[in-house]
């Protein structure tokens, strides 16, 4: 049953675009944002003068190396002389940028909004992972000098321990997503690999190995959002945003449940209620679940109640999450295969919703039977999840 919320405008995605995802690109951050924006507008048949407001998403300023990165990106994002706002929730930013675009229109303020996400990861030296040093509490965590991979290794270990999950079952996610990405024209890390390749890859921080992780990438992605009034005029195939949700766990890493992302369950429930989804496993056609690490796809499938706790590996093993399975997960190839330019990676997932619903995904196309798709991202201090649900 749909929740009765006060929304002035129903919102549709009518255009999507992205750049190549690569380790290094020759364009500036503004130019990457521009390329994705231009492609998205062209695909919607709209121009810069039609855009009423712009929402920009980008992760920490330190990545691109510009403070006020949203403002820095605004010219490239078609924001000149328009209301522009940047949103930022770490890794979850890409999906949250679409959510912010949604509320710009759902509130009745605007009819046509461009939502753009960008990340330039090659500027910072010697390695962008070093910048994550500064997300830790300076008193109780930073003295130990942790980085994200160390911490996720512990989360992965706890998840494996609690539900008795084997590394070879987790590796299946990496195998699937990298293979799916072979059909994505913008992909950086597409490959035909085996479970054995994953298990034999370099151990970074046990149990995390090289092929369990998405690559360092840069790139941009954008969608054009419009009100129902405009959508009916300019397209025969709008992709409706039916639900949005987000939620945060405790600020303190040591105050969280590691084996199960309860905050994602809350974010999912917010979006499911709005969309009128009672059984996600039965009602969703496909989901672009956030997969910076292979175990995170499984973790997130469970938080989204697509699988019971500890049972996402079973669905994966049975082939349910393959592109031709009953509930394809990451048909795009995900972050593991397409790449992980933080904010742009989440927006790439929203773009995939658009292409899949419209049967424009080429070889990546899944069957749309029941009508619903979902994109999710995760980030901030590793305690936020953001969810968008779409419908044909």
């Amino acid at each position: 049953m749909k929740t009765n919320i006060n929304i002035k405008n129903r919102v549709a995605i009518v255009g999507a675009g992205m750049t190549l995802f690569r380790r290094r690109l020759k364009e500036t951050p503004q130019e990457l944002a521009f390329e994705a924006s231009r492609v998205a507008l062209d695909s919607a048949g709209l121009d810069v003068k039609d855009v009423e407001a712009v929402v920009i998403g980008s992760a920490p300023d330190a990545f691109d190396g510009f403070h006020m990165k949203g403002e820095h990106l605004s010219d490239g994002s078609m924001g000149y002389m328009k209301p522009v706002k940047r949103v930022f929730v770490g890794g979850a930013t890409g999906v949250f940028t679409a959510i912010a675009g949604w509320w710009h229109i759902a509130s009745g303020l605007y009819d046509i909004v461009l939502a753009v996400a960008e990340e330039k990861m090659s500027n910072a030296r010697p390695h962008p992972q070093g910048l994550f040093k500064y997300i830790w509490d300076p008193i109780v965590e930073r003295p130990l000098n942790p980085n994200l991979i160390w911490i996720f290794a512990m989360e992965m270990h706890r998840y494996m321990y609690k539900y008795n999950i084997k590394k070879e079952d987790i590796a299946l996610v990496s195998v699937k997503n990298k293979r799916n990405a072979l059909d994505h024209p913008a992909a950086q890390a597409a490959a035909n690999i085996s479970v054995d390749d994953v298990l034999k890859s370099e151990v970074l921080v046990w149990p995390v190995q090289r092929l369990d992780i998405s690559p360092v990438s840069e790139g941009a992605a954008a969608v054009v959002l419009v009100s129902e009034r405009v959508a009916r005029k300019i397209t025969d195939s709008p992709v409706w945003i039916e639900g949005v949700g987000w939620n945060l766990d405790s600020t303190h890493w040591t105050s969280r449940e590691l084996a199960y992302p309860k905050y994602l369950e809350e974010a999912g429930n917010m979006a499911y209620r709005m969309a009128g989804i009672e059984n996600p496993r039965k009602q969703l056609d496909f989901a672009e679940v956030y997969d910076p690490f292979d175990y995170k796809e499984l973790h997130h499938m469970e938080g989204l109640q697509i699988a019971n706790k500890g049972e996402a590996p079973k669905l994966t093993k049975e082939g349910v999450t393959q592109r031709d399975g009953d509930l394809p997960i990451c048909p795009s190839g995900g972050l593991l295969g397409v790449g992980n330019p933080i904010a742009a990676a989440g927006m790439m997932k929203v773009c995939e919703l658009f292409w899949q619903h419209r049967y424009e995904a080429g070889k990546r196309q899944v069957r749309i039977k029941r009508g619903y798709g979902l994109a999710q991202a995760w980030g901030d201090l590793m305690q936020v999840s953001t969810v968008v649900i779409t419908k044909t």
């Binding site: 020759k26 503004q30 130019e31 078609m78 000149y80 330039k120 090659s122 030296r125 962008p128």
Partner: protein, 151 residues
């Protein structure tokens, strides 16, 4: 009364990357190379709306189209505004105060931030032109321009 904060423990820290290597962009690279190789300031040209603009970038801020062309412009600039800088960003007095200026060019949207030189009393509206380093010392940077001087 005793200053209480002085008794609290502090934890030392820092916060930045070790360094950055910024991407210049394909068209801005041509802009810097024409300063280096030709001793000329060029502007980006949008063939969709016909505007010339600075700083150079490979898209048009005004009409939202791709831009991939530089054009020669009149090297004579006009001082749109200026100020006399006496202190640095940390409040330290400069040994040699200097004039900082926003310089615009004929028929060009936007402009450049640079220094003024060989001038006693600058004026807004004053005509200036760039003074470049010797060509063998130029590296493809805005610093290849020493300053702008009155015409």
């Amino acid at each position: 009364m005793e200053n209480r904060t002085s008794r609290l423990l502090r934890y030392p820290g820092d916060m930045e990357a070790e360094s950055y290597l910024y991407t210049v962009g394909p068209l801005a690279e041509q802009f810097l190379l024409s300063i280096k190789n030709e001793g000329k300031i060029k502007a980006a040209y949008c063939k969709n709306c016909g505007r010339l603009f600075l700083p150079v970038r490979s898209f048009c801020t005004f009409c939202g189209k791709e831009v991939n062309e530089l054009r020669e412009i009149d090297q004579e600039g006009v001082v749109e505004s200026f100020s006399k800088v006496k202190l640095d960003s940390f409040g330290k007095e400069l040994k040699e105060p200097f004039y900082l200026a926003y310089i615009k060019f004929r028929n060009v949207e936007g402009g450049l931030l640079h220094k003024l030189g060989e001038v006693k009393e600058p004026k807004i509206g004053m005509k200036v032109k760039p003074v470049f380093k010797e060509s063998k010392e130029r590296i493809g940077s805005l610093e290849d321009i020493l300053y702008f001087r009155p015409i």
